[in-house]
Symmetry: D2
Subunit: 212 residues, 4 copies
C-alpha cells in the first residue's frame, strides 16, 4: 500500500507569514563595480532601472528590515586573495577579477551596510555554492530569504533556485532587482517564479513592518 | 601595487580538450514520470522534441561515452522514503511526490542504465544541492560534465550553473535537452550560455570518440 | 563598545528536552562486515562488548524510538558502485571495499530496519562529509541526533564532532557504542565529550519514552 | 562476478611525493586568545610545548613553504559578527565568543601572515564544516594539506579526519601541534593516525624544500 505524505509536509501556499527573527533580506552585488557606468559595458536600460527603481527599493526594504529586526545581509563579488587564485573556475574562465578590498568591491554608498551587518565576498553566481552563507543564516535562525539586487537573470535567479533547493522559503522582490534589459528582467522573473514567492517592494515593506 | 592573476588562472577559451577519464555524461530526469503523456500535463511540443530529438541524442551520447570510457551518470526525481518526508521543502511546496522504487522513478527503457552506472535519486532542481553527486564525481576523478535531459530551463539550467560555480567544466548538449515549449528551450540555452560550453550532440559524439 | 550575545544564543546547558519529531536515532555501521568475527581481525573485547551491550542497547533505543515517533536512521559502509570507484580517497588509501548490495553491507539481523526507515551508504568516517545525511534530516525536521554504533573512536567520534559543528544537538549513547578495546572506548568518550551530551541507554530510553 | 577496483584506485602507501603547487600548510588557531596565559585556563604543559616546540616548528614550516611555493593558510576562531549571532550552535553551547577584529582573534606575532596569505575565521572545531575552506583550496589547486596548530586532540584531529573524508591527502606535522597535556597530545596522534600521514617538522621541511 502506498504511503501518504505527513500532514506537516503538505502546504496550501508558498505565502507563509513573515517572522522577523527568521527572515533575512539579501542584497546581491549592489557594489561599485556593477554601477560603474563609465568603465563597464554600455547598458542604458540597466543603469536606468537600477537608479530609478531597484536601488531605491532596496533602500526601502533595508530600512523596513532594520526597524523590524529582519537581518540585512550583503554579498559582493570580491576575490579573497589579491591575485585572485581563490576565484572559482567560472570566474577565471570569465575573466572576472575584483581585487580584495578594492573600491570596485565596496557596496554602493546609497546602500551602505550598518554596524554589524554581514558583507559576504564571493566569486560565483550563487553565494550558496561558494561561501558559508547557508551556515551563517542557519546559525542566526533564518528560514526565509528575501532576494534583491543584480542581475535578475544571473545571481538573483541562481540564488533563488539554490535557496529553494536547500530548504529556504525564498521571496523575490521583483522591483528591487534589475538586469541588462527590461525584457531579460521580465523573462527571468517568469523563469524562476516556480521556485519562490514573488512580491513587490511595497507589499514586502508592509509585510515586514507588520511582522512579529 | 596590484597583483596579477597566476598564469594557470588565465584561460583563452572554455573549449578545453575532453579527457575520457575526467569526463562524465549526466542524464537528468529521463524517467517514466516525465514521459507519461497520458497522466501528466498536456505539452505536445515537449513530447515531440523529447521523442524525436532529445532521447535519441542522449542514447547516442551514452553509446559514444561507454565506448570511450566516459562515465555515464543518471539522476531521477525520487523520494528516499516512501512517505516522502525526506523531500526538499521545495518539492513539498510544489507537491512533487515520486515514490521510492516506483515505475515513475525508473529511467525510461530507451536509456536503460548499464551495469555499474550510477543512478542518483533527488528531490530538488539541481542535484548538486541535495545529493552527494559532487563527492562521487570528485572521487571518480571527473572535472568535466556534459549535461543532457529535462527540463532545459529548470533542472538542466540549474545544474549547469551550480556545476560552473563549483569548479567543473560544464558542457550543454543543446539538442539532447527539452522543455515544455521550443521557445522556452531556446530562451534557456541563451540564459545559461555564459556558464558553460554549448555543443550539439554530433560535435560531442565526435569529441568523445576522439578523446584519450 | 563591545556587543553582547543575543539572549537566544545563551545556553545554560546542553541537556535540552527531547522532542519526538525533532530527534533522530543514528545507528552507525551495525553491519555484517563489522561483526564478521571469522574473517576480520581478532578483537575479542570488541565482539564481547558489541554482543553483550552495544547491540542490545541499540535494539532497546530503536524500539523506544519507534514507539515514540523518533526517526531511526542507519548508515553502513558500502560502495555506491560495484568497482568502488566512487569511494573516498581515504577508503581507497585504506583499502576498504564493501561491494554494493553485498551481505557485508547489510545491517545485522538483530537490528533489521523497519519499513520506510532510511539506510544511507557511505565510504567515509563521518557520513556528514560524504552523504546527503544533513539534507535529509533537515528536510525531515530533526535538530537532535542520538549516536550509537561502531567504532566509538572512529565513525562515532567523528560523526558527533561534525554534527556539533553543523548545528545539531548531539547525544552519545555511551553504552550503545563499542570499539576494539575497552580502553580505547573509554578514551574516546572522554575525548569527544565536549562536543555532545553523554547519556546511558537507560536514561535515553526514559527520555525518549517521555518525550512529546 | 565481483568487480575489482580500478588500477588508479589502488595505493601502496599514503606517502605520496609532495608537489609545491598542490600542497598547503594549514596553521590552526595560532592566535592571541589561545596563547593568553594570563587570562585563560592554567595549562602549563600546553604553554611550554607551544612556546618551545610547536610555534618554532610552525615558523620553520611556514618559512620553507614560502620559499618552495607551498600555500600558507591560517584559520582562527573569530565571530563573523560583533554579537556572535553567526556562531555555530556548538560555540554558543560552549560559550566561546571571540569578537570580530579583536586582539584575541589575531594570529600571534611570531607567525604573522605574509602578504596575500589567507586567514579564515571560523566558529567551529573543523573549518571544513563552517567555512568555504574546501572551496578555496580546490580553486587554488591543492590536494594535500599539512596540518599544524592547536589543539592536537580537538581542531587538529577533527580537521585531519574531515580532510581525509573529503578527498585530501592529509599530513600531520606531529611536533608542530600541541594540546593541554603531553599525554593528550600523544593519545590524539595515535587516535587519528589512520586518517593521515604523520611526519616530524624536520622531515617535512626537507620534503617541502625538495618538492617541485
Amino acid at each position: 500500500m502506498t504511503m501518504k505524505p505527513r500532514p506537516q509536509d503538505i502546504f496550501e501556499t508558498r505565502a507563509q507569514p513573515l517572522v522577523a527573527g527568521r527572515t533575512g533580506l539579501l542584497i546581491i552585488d549592489a557594489q561599485n563595480w556593477v554601477m560603474d557606468e563609465k568603465n563597464r559595458q554600455p547598458r542604458p536600460e540597466f543603469y536606468e532601472a537600477a537608479r530609478t527603481a531597484a536601488i531605491p527599493n532596496m533602500a526601502r526594504l533595508a530600512d523596513a528590515s532594520r526597524k523590524a529586526g529582519v537581518e540585512v545581509i550583503y554579498t559582493v563579488m570580491e576575490n579573497f586573495t589579491e591575485d585572485g587564485r581563490d576565484r572559482s573556475l567560472d570566474y577565471k574562465l570569465s575573466n572576472f577579477f575584483i581585487p580584495k578590498g578594492s573600491w570596485d568591491a565596496k557596496v554602493i554608498d546609497e546602500l551602505a551596510p550598518q554596524r554589524d551587518e554581514m558583507v559576504i565576498p564571493k566569486t560565483s553566481s550563487s553565494l550558496f555554492n561558494s561561501t558559508n552563507f547557508e551556515y551563517l543564516v542557519r546559525n542566526i535562525g533564518l528560514d526565509t530569504i528575501i532576494v534583491t539586487g543584480f542581475l535578475t537573470d544571473q545571481c538573483v535567479d541562481h540564488t533563488i533556485r539554490d535557496g529553494a533547493d536547500r530548504g529556504f522559503h525564498m521571496i523575490c522582490a521583483t522591483d528591487a532587482c534589475a538586469t541588462d534589459t527590461k525584457a531579460r528582467h521580465e523573462a527571468a522573473l517568469k523563469a524562476f517564479k516556480g521556485y519562490c514567492r514573488s512580491e513587490t517592494t511595497a507589499a514586502l515593506v508592509e509585510a515586514i513592518s507588520g511582522c512579529k
